[in-house]
Amino acid sequence: MENEVQVKTEHLVKRYPMGAESFPALQDINLQFMKGEFTGIVGPSGSGKTTLLNIIGTLDKPTEGEALLLGKTISKLTHKEGAKIRNEHLGFIFQTYNLLPVYTVFENVEFPLLLLSMEKKERDEAVWQALEWMQITEKAKVKPNQLSGGQAQRVAIARSIVKKPKIVIADEPTANLDAKNSHRILQLMVDLNKDLQTTFIFSTHDEKVIQYLRRIINLEDGRVASDELVELNGIATQE
């Protein structure tokens, strides 16, 4: 179990059409992600971070090469199969939170469980637990437009982990947050990663985030420039 490979890319290439030419956003990416990882894909804007996360998250397909998610070949997934995998095993966190504006905090967090047709009692329990983890229970009845950025992102994280997915994919989750909120959110995610063994795959170019990462993959112009594991004590001194 410890060494379970959850995501694997082989010679992954993604090109976007640009007029008659095509622009290579990702080139020959060979990566593996194991269960329980806390990994950041780091690189400047335009280096291909979002493109890579979208493919891993089954929202997009490779142009060439292959990507496997939980044993499934992503390029061969139908719309329906993709939706099912995302529904059951993936959590997404976005830079802009993307909460449903008409729903309360509670209902936003509940929504993925409704898609899983979970029983009400079980659902309520899971939602309150997720809100407790994210220390946002007092806002349960509030609509997203009354939340601060930090609060909204904590709700979004609660929504992503409420169904206890195997993998959480977070595309620049702190890009719109100040330092205090960024640290708080990273610390919460580190704790979840420890407690639930959830795999976290980030993209970021935020220095504050990098110090929490246990593995750093550097992307430059769509290529992997480096891929390093970080010593655990590096974080221990942080507090």
Partner: protein, 389 residues
């Protein structure tokens, strides 16, 4: 259930826009039910009146009789068959003899029909007893005929006719009564006379053009040379006229409906455009595109449900008011082909209400679904970035 709740929240959250759509749509709702109810009421009312005063339980016509061809009228009568004699004796049928004639109101000749009916008949509710026991020749006319000719009760009018031998003759008729009816077919351009007098005048003893049957009576056999006209066939004409009128009126609410559809279509297009990031998020959360399409379609259709509720709020009192007090139509709505002197009481049948609701729901659903097809072409990655293709 998930979609239903989210859809409801979304359109509820859209506030004013949702209500504007619902109100516009509700107006078509009420307008359709009101006008159609009015026409149904009109058809029903006129049919009832027609049965009472002219159609009865059906009629038996001489095989040559064609009410739309006055030229053949003089050959459209025959000896009253024995079986009909029996019905007449049993008060199951009333014979009517019809012939052409002319009157000269204010010195101008006017072609009219002379209709002979037994003053003692009980089959139709016309004041025919007014024709009985008079030494003088007396006649009955309808209110429209009276208005047109300026005749009043007690007045005399000279009628002229040609009898069965081709001999012209004339007589003065005293108006014994004026009756009021919606049914133009027994009012316009005609005068009702005692049957035996007319038979004598025309030298057509024991002859008739048709028989009106009692409402409770259905004939076991039809004599040769005569045709049975069922009640429904005789009323079909009216229903057709009313239907034709209602098609004319439907243009009004087709326009209303179109406006409502335009508003909903516009709302859908706008909402899909504005919420593309939300669409991307829903897909990322594990919804299939077809469910997202279902969500947006449902949101659009819910305007129909809200419209029905809004329509019920102001529509029911309005419609009930008209059902109770009726709608007064101009006295001489002669263009309608049916005399409408009185108030019309609309009838809102279950079929009308269910049919209208179904029609509106289907149209709203199609209109709501239409713009959502672009969601199917939307890439989730682009949607999340707020891009559209």
């Amino acid at each position: 259930m998930v979609l239903l709740r989210l859809a409801f929240r979304n359109i509820w959250g859209a506030g004013l826009r949702t209500w504007l759509n619902a109100i516009v749509l509700s107006i078509s709702f009420v307008a359709i039910i009101w006008t159609q109810g009015l026409y149904e009421g009109m058809a029903e009312q006129v049919s009832r009146e027609m049965i009472k005063v002219s159609v009865g339980g059906g009629q038996i016509w001489h095989s040559n009789y064609d009410p739309y061809d006055p030229l053949t009228l003089d050959e459209s009568h025959g000896q009253i068959p024995p079986i009909c004699q029996q019905w007449i004796a049993n008060d199951q049928a009333a014979p009517v003899l019809i012939h052409q004639g002319a009157i000269y109101p204010q010195g101008r000749m006017q072609q009219i029909l002379l209709k002979g009916i037994d003053p003692g008949q009980q089959i139709v509710q016309l004041p025919t007893q007014g024709l009985a026991n008079h030494d003088r020749l007396t006649g009955l006319i309808g209110a429209r005929m009276a208005r047109k000719t300026g005749l009043q009760k007690g007045d005399y009018i000279t009628i002229r006719w040609r009898d069965s031998k081709g001999v012209f003759d004339a007589a003065d008729v005293q108006i014994a009564g004026i009756f009021d009816t919606y049914a133009a077919s027994i009012d316009q351009n005609q005068i009702w006379l005692p049957l035996n007098r007319l038979q004598r005048m025309l030298a057509m003893p024991d002859q008739a053009t048709m028989f009106i049957l009692d409402r409770e009576f259905s004939p076991s056999k039809i004599p040769e040379g005569w045709l049975f006209k069922r009640q429904n066939d005789l009323l079909a004409n009216i229903q057709e006229i009313v239907q034709a009128k209602s098609v004319g009126a439907s243009i009004l609410y087709v326009v209303l409906l179109l406006l409502a559809m335009l508003a909903i279509f516009d709302t859908q297009v706008l909402s899909i455009f504005r919420r593309r990031k939300e669409i991307g998020t829903l897909i990322a959360l594990g919804m299939t595109r077809s469910r997202v399409i279902g969500l947006f379609t449902l949101e659009g259709s819910m305007h129909g449900v809200l419209a029905a509720i809004v329509a019920a709020i102001y529509g029911i009192p309005l419609l009930v008011w008209y059902a109770v007090y009726g709608l007064g139509l101009p006295i001489d709505a002669e263009n309608y082909g049916i005399a409408l002197g009185q108030r019309i009481f609309p009838i809102y049948s279950a079929g009308l209400i269910i049919g209208t609701t179904l029609l509106i729901m289907i149209v709203v659903t199609i209109i709501s679904y239409w713009p959502t097809r672009r969601i199917a072409k939307l890439k989730p990655t682009d949607a999340l970035l707020g891009k559209t293709q």
